[in-house]
Symmetry: C2
Subunit: 351 residues, 2 copies
DNA sequence: GCGGATCCTCGAATCGATTCGACCAGCGCC
DNA sequence: GGCGCTGGTCGAATCGATTCGAGGATCCGC
């Protein structure tokens, strides 16, 4: 192909000035129908596919691109349907408004040297989906570039809008449900609490250094329901394997809990598997509950008792926040409602 | 914040010309260490975070962005770990080379009106991941914009590079394995074959109109192994639910096949579930095999017999093809090797 | 001490489009 | 018939950076 045809070519072909040709496409100005048609015809003739995004961007200072930064933990969470569905919701909501979602891989927190894309990719705004830690070089890099940031879950004290769900209330509902069923010895499996990843019981010191808002709020919710877990285990990731590992830790003991409340459906599925391995029946021997409301057909015929959060709506809310920021507003933090969804994995404790 | 500081500001502050300042950043020209340092110092002083991507793009004509078009079927396949992992591989491979991956949602084939992003988003190249149909308005739109395209799976006769895996050989290996075990009555569950989605037996007419290269090649592989399926069912999507639906169709009959060979692990998982529902033991009563080599921990203790394809490598190969195209070369089609992975879900037929 | 080579630095053009102000003609109104 | 308005076009500046050729200073060798 020769050089791309430009607006100037079209204008020349149509016998009008470049500015007039521009008007014909943008429609942002007075232009006679006849002229417009002539320009458009010339464009078709020349195979001109509309104004180049680049030129437009430069002029407007906007690239029409929203970056989603994928850090190490997020790359991991690419395996988590939750992030993927939220991402899908974002893309679906941003797309029709002319904004594209750019995947920006970033090195982990540790080995951070200099992420090419974080520091060079064109972005009007950036979204950190989950796993936004308080002190992140990524955050700094974005800040220094003057790129506004929106958080999908994260700390509320960073001065950037946060979109989250009613973690606390949701867990409270779940805990209440278990209490009403008669459970007293309840174990908890949490999301990674921040810092080094591990699968281990959580002690008070660890509790004090939590740097993962959702996990924190979900733990608070338990207390709201007056539930004091007999043991709390931190999972190394929100994955089935990690749940199974935590499950073994919890259930392979002399006096296992009568119910396990987990911070995600994937973790719950893992616990379910661990229980099965250990010959425990669910829910007769042990009840299991999750969080997220994922559709897990492979658990059939079981259906997880869980708290469902609106993925698509979350993506849309993040998109709204981004739009608001770009419009110069200062969007408020959003907390989306959740819903208790009873399944077949919870029942009254045995005897 | 005031106006973004520009290279001109930095140059002024450092007391040099804009061009010299540019040199200090790009390093593409002779510049004295002293000057360079002065410019960089001024930049730090002013909080200038490097040359704006926009200006650079305009000049170079490159945006540094690779679009991944997500059509209807692809949006669906966001639920499929295969696509997600390939996407992850792409992003990981493109990122360090300074290219970002832009998610470009597109309307389905049918209701195609005018996808804002497909026609306006800046892209140096576009990737259609799976589900590239022969006649797609998306394809045309891209072509008319002069954007080179790379296919992740797809027809080889479109004049664009295709990256795929050894579907045919892989299926042949799998079929051989089943034959060697003694299976003669083997059923097949295929990927959606193109056109309207349905869950139904496939007849010759349907076979003739397949518009889904991977499915086609995988069917060819069967024949290579001398295996003639007793019945072939087309799934409505590569999802567990769809597999279960197809599984019921196949297994809930008087004389069920002794083995079911599916076109994806998710489908195989669905068949497994259907078998379980029907009281059939796997692999004693029926063998089940998949394709993809997904890690499905929730199938534990079962491990699917499958053909594993290299997801990350596939993403990387697509990235390579994109780089090659951008370098002005004409990359060859790539066929990545696959590997037979024996699990616990296949065994000799009963009696 | 002077010519020539080297090394830096600078000015200006360029990429593709938007946009503001100027300009012109035609028209209505008094 | 003149004045003022307005709809439609056009010129030129602008966005932020890159790049090439020109020019100036320095330094070397003779």
């Amino acid at each position: 192909m020769t050089d791309r045809t430009t607006l100037a070519d079209v204008a020349a072909a149509a016998g009008v000035s470049v500015s007039t040709a521009s008007l014909a496409f943008s429609g942002a100005g007075p232009i006679s129908a006849a002229t417009k048609e002539r320009v458009l015809a010339a464009a078709t003739e020349l195979g001109y596919a509309g104004p180049s995004a680049l030129g437009r961007s430069l002029r407007s200072g906007r690239s029409g691109i929203v970056g989603v930064v994928i850090g190490d933990q997020l790359r991991r969470s690419f395996r988590d349907p939750v992030s993927v569905q939220v991402l899908d919701g974002m893309a679906g909501s941003l797309g029709p408004r002319g904004l594209g979602v750019l995947l920006v891989p970033a090195t982990g927190e540790e080995g951070y040297t200099d992420d090419l894309l974080v520091s060079t990719a064109p972005m009007d705004a950036a979204v950190l989906l989950f796993g936004a830690r308080r002190e992140s070089p990524i955050f700094d890099a974005l800040r220094s570039r003057g790129i506004p940031v929106v958080l999908g879950e994260g700390p509320h004290d960073l001065g950037v809008p946060v979109v989250g769900v009613a973690d606390r209330r949701g867990t409270e509902l779940l805990a209440q449900h278990l209490v009403e069923l008669g459970h007293r010895r309840v174990a908890v499996v949490t999301l990674p609490l921040g810092g080094a990843r591990r699968c281990a019981p959580v002690d008070d010191r660890r509790l004090a250094e939590i740097d993962c808002p959702p996990a924190e709020h979900r733990l608070d919710g338990l207390r709201d329901a007056g539930l004091d877990p007999v043991v709390t285990v931190e999972a190394s990731a929100s994955l089935v394997e990690a749940g199974a590992e935590a499950g073994r830790l919890l259930l392979d003991v002399a006096e296992p809990p009568t119910a396990v409340l987990t911070h995600s459906d994937l973790l719950a599925a893992g616990v379910l598997i661990a229980a099965r391995e250990l010959g425990l029946r669910v829910p007769q021997d042990v009840s299991v509950a999750g969080f997220d409301g994922l559709d897990l057909p492979w658990l059939a015929p079981d259906v997880l008792t869980s708290v469902s959060q609106p993925f698509a709506a979350k993506g849309a809310a993040i998109a709204d926040a981004v739009m608001a920021i770009l419009a110069g507003e200062t969007p408020k933090d959003v907390e989306l409602p959740v819903e208790l969804r009873l399944g077949t994995t919870t029942a009254p404790p045995r005897a």
